[in-house]
């Protein structure tokens, strides 16, 4: 699927050879809320309880750049035209970066759905891709929101209970421990990475201000020294660009990676939770069966119930194992790819920066010796 963008609408472009689709190619407009709807319906589908459901993409967040744009507009009168133009340019770049990120995230969501043998057959998924009218998705009204919130609370309470449930299967026991630990660590790492990236951007911003201030001084000065100052301003300007790019690349590759996997780990944990829930249900049904047998009433029903619970549990366990194993592999691959890409980008940018420093340094020496002041 290809995603393009127009305001808060996404254009989802699908090419397919699957027979279940009517046409080989589709292009529809979707909004963020539609993605959420799709995600939620899949979560609520009982059948998929044994699968790791790809996490929903986060809401596109343009607050940051929008606020800055606003501030810039207010402060326009207090800076020079060049400074204003530069800052505007920088803000536009930031806007673009956020845009790219959000497109990527939505795209990844759909791609995971489509590459999974079960999900791609999902009816709702097909509708999502095919239906060429607006999916007038009913937004969750207040009651549903509250219901959802409550469910989450119950879930976390249950999680505590569930982690106390004795685990028979070694594999799942290991997974549970690993996931719980990993989840907290990765959340932490994500937060720290975000802070680091922000500091990086601040440094780049400062370069911009320094460059502006130097230009101001140069404008006032009319000795040969002026050229030095202008060159110096140029140095900082160029440094800023590189610094900025380094920071956003780092963000895209590293921080985004960490963010995404925080969510993914959560989805894996959800799977474990559902399975544990099923286990608990099974155990409850066992107890109910025993009770029924004691009372001699509704035995057949209780037996049926128990059988069903067992089935469900087994199914979940089986598919869960598969999913978690492939999840591991997926994670390693993703980390590898992103780390390599990030490193390569960092090297590239750092080399550029180094080269520029070199050139300017050399130039300055030349200039200094060449000018009699």
């Amino acid at each position: 699927a290809l995603c393009e963008r127009d305001k808060v609408k996404f254009t989802v472009h699908t090419k397919t050879t699957l027979s279940s689709f009517q046409k080989p190619e589709y292009s529809v407009q979707r909004q963020h809320e539609d993605f959420i709807w799709l995600h939620d319906t899949i979560v609520e589908t009982e059948e998929y309880a044994g699968l790791i459901i790809p996490p929903a993409p986060p809401k596109p967040d343009f607050e940051g750049p929008r606020e800055k744009m606003h501030k810039l507009g207010e402060g326009e009168s207090s800076m020079t035209k060049e400074e204003y133009a530069k800052m505007k340019q920088e803000l536009e770049a930031e806007y673009l970066a956020v845009f790219k990120k959000t497109v990527q995230v939505h795209e990844v969501f759909l791609q995971r759905l489509s590459s999974h043998p079960m999900f791609r057959k999902d009816r709702n998924f097909q509708i999502f891709l095919e239906y060429d009218q607006d999916l007038t998705v009913r937004r969750k009204n207040a009651k549903e929101m509250f219901g959802g919130f409550f469910k989450n609370m119950v879930k976390s309470a249950d999680e505590v209970l569930i982690s106390g449930v004795k685990e028979v299967d070694e594999f799942f026991e290991q997974e549970k421990n690993f996931l719980l630990d990993y989840s907290s660590k990765i959340k932490d790492a994500t937060a720290k990475a975000e802070k680091m990236t922000r500091s990086h951007k601040n440094v780049a911003d400062d370069y911009n201000h320094i460059s502006g201030a130097l230009n101001n001084i140069a404008a006032d000065n009319n000795t040969a020294f002026k050229k030095h100052l202008e060159k110096c301003a140029e140095v900082f300007e160029k440094l800023r660009k590189v610094e900025d790019r380094m920071a956003s690349d780092q963000e895209l590759k590293l921080t985004e990676l960490l963010r995404y996997y925080t969510r993914d780990i959560q989805a894996a944990k959800d799977l474990l939770y559902r399975r544990a829930r099923a286990l608990a249900d099974y155990e409850n049904s066992n107890k109910a069966l025993d009770k029924a047998r004691l009372k001699g009433k509704d035995v057949a029903q209780a037996e049926e119930n128990q059988k069903q619970c067992l089935q469900k549990f087994d199914k979940l366990s089986e598919s869960g194992k598969k999913e978690l194993t492939s999840f591991k592999a997926r994670r390693v691959v993703a980390f590898r790819k992103n780390l390599i890409e990030m490193t390569e980008l960092e090297i590239k940018h750092a080399k550029v920066r180094r080269l520029k420093c070199y050139v300017y340094h050399y130039m300055f020496i030349r200039q200094c010796s060449g000018i009699l002041i």
Partner: protein, 519 residues
């Protein structure tokens, strides 16, 4: 070649400079054109154009011996050949130093036979790496002015002497010089802070119109925790800058007090420095700057030089303040980046320890190490941001204030002259009245008065002339000094940036194979 350079050809062999200029513009152009900034491209582009200079035979000789002035070690042996090999110059950290060495040597050769065996020890500076290049610039300056003296001062080695209440920091002041007026070529003494204050007191009494004598340690007086390492370092650096500025001024250098300060083993303990340290000093300096702000006297100038200069100085001071604020912000943000990086590094290490896949786990802990190294680099960079740029700017903001002080003093002299002139006028009128009223006994007195005031007036006129001349000379000298100082510092700063960048590249390059090894 685009005419973008517009530099005055220096007194070097012209060809070579033209070509150098050409190199620069071309490098610049390729720099600007290349939006996508492939480092390698720019480099090769520049390199191929750089070859032209070395193809000239005489330069070829110089450069083949010492390495071309373009950054390539390979040119060493090629004697002007076009080297086609893929130069990854940057893999060798040592090459950079080679460059600076060869550059300076190259320069000296070019300067010609006037350079005798100069004492080329450079300022031993505990923060900044000895930069041979800046030394070269200084040498050039000396050559141009015809002098061949050198005077390098360093303030190093702060040591705590004594205990408790009477403890103080003692600094080593080392001087290296070829000036004949000193007894030795190299010598050092130990001084403490109050000695510096004492020197300041003596100088400021005698040289009221010198800019640069100012004791510019406003921030270091009183407020900060005086035992922290950072504080000691800041103070040491500031004392060093102070002394360097003092000896850079020709008339201060001649002053016996300065010489005594540098040479004499034991200085009598400066008394009355209590008034000068701490809040006393602060108050005094603030008073001066306040007074300067209230300058409202208008002098009838024959030329506008003083007026426009004053305006210039005031503007520049404002702009420098703003620049200083920006650099300060940079220092702070970089420090922030340092701490965030460290925290992140720890977090990644934790993640790596939890990770099941062993290759990924190893890679993550490597990443943590890389981030750690980056933090050190950032720390260093912040350090040089501060000491090279921020302190320089702070000093100059205050120095500009001192320049305004000079103007103020000139105005005071002028005012005195005006007052004397009006008094003379009054005396003359009084005499006229007496003549008219015909009181001969008072007449003599009046005549005496007039004579007295006439001589005063001419004295003050001469004073004013002298002060005007001095201030003008001083301001010009100061501006020259300032330009030179700024240039030196910019070069130093770029050098520090360069070093940091280089290490950074190495860090990431070391990590890449680890990342690739994740299976």
């Amino acid at each position: 070649m685009s005419g973008g350079c517009g530099r005055n050809p220096p007194p070097f062999p012209d060809d070579e400079d033209q070509e150098r200029a050409e190199l620069d513009t071309q490098v610049l152009d390729s720099d600007e054109d290349d939006e996508d900034d492939e480092g390698e491209d720019i480099f090769t582009g520049a390199r191929s154009k750089a070859i032209t200079p070395t193809s000239a035979p005489d330069e070829g000789d110089i450069f083949s011996e010492e390495g071309s002035y373009v950054r390539s070690d390979v040119h060493h042996t090629t004697n002007g050949l076009h080297s086609d090999e893929e130069l990854d110059l940057f893999t060798e950290a040592t090459v950079e130093l080679t460059l600076t060495n060869t550059t300076s040597q190259g320069r000296r050769e070019i300067i010609g036979p006037t350079v005798s065996a100069c004492n080329t020890t450079h300022v031993p500076n505990s923060i900044l790496k000895p930069s041979i290049v800046t030394k070269t610039m200084e040498e050039l300056k000396e050559e141009e002015s015809g002098d061949q003296f050198e005077l390098n001062i360093a303030v190093t080695n702060p040591e705590k002497i004594g205990d408790g209440m009477n403890a103080y920091m003692s600094y080593k002041v080392s001087t290296q010089t070829t000036l004949p007026m000193f007894l030795n070529k190299t010598f050092s003494v130990r001084r403490r802070f109050s000695d510096f204050l004492g020197l300041y007191e003596k100088i400021s009494a005698k040289h009221s119109l010198v800019v640069g004598k100012e004791f510019l340690m406003l921030t270091l007086v009183g407020k900060e925790d005086s035992s922290s390492a950072e504080f000691v370092e800041k103070r040491r650096a500031a004392l060093e800058r102070y002394l360097q500025r003092v000896v850079a001024h020709p008339s201060l250098l001649q002053d016996p007090d300065v010489r005594e300060f540098l040479e004499r083993d034991e200085l009598p303990r400066a008394v009355n420095t209590q008034a000068l340290s701490g809040p006393g000093l602060l108050k005094m300096i603030n008073r001066v700057s306040d007074a300067v702000n209230k300058m409202t006297i208008k002098i009838n100038e024959s030329d506008n030089w003083f007026e426009s200069k004053l305006q210039e100085v005031e503007n520049e001071e404002q702009l420098l303040r703003r620049l200083h604020a920006a650099v300060d912000s940079l220092v702070n943000h970089r420090k922030e980046l340092c701490s965030n990086t460290v925290v992140f590094s720890k977090s990644v290490a934790m993640l790596g320890s939890v990770e099941e896949n062993s290759a990924l786990s190893r890679a993550l802990s490597q990443l943590a190490e890389v981030e750690d190294k980056m933090e050190q680099l950032h720390q260093q960079q912040a350090f040089s941001d501060f000491f090279i740029l921020a302190e320089l700017l702070a000093d100059y903001v205050r120095l500009l204030g001192a320049v305004r002080c000079c103007f103020e003093q000139r105005m005071k002299v002028w005012q005195r002259l005006q007052e004397a002139q009006s008094t003379l006028q009054k005396k003359r009128e009084a005499e006229a009245k007496l003549l008219w009223a015909n009181k001969p006994e008072k007449l003599q007195q009046a005549k005496d008065d007039i004579n007295e005031w006439e001589s005063k007036v001419s004295q003050y006129e001469r004073d004013f002339e002298r002060v005007t001349c001095t201030v003008r000379k001083e301001v010009l000298r100061f501006e020259k000094e300032k330009a030179r100082d700024f240039k030196q510092h910019i070069v130093k700063y770029l050098e520090s940036l360069l070093h940091t960048q280089h290490r950074l590249v190495k860090c990431w390059e070391a990590f890449l194979p680890e990342a690739k090894a994740i299976a």
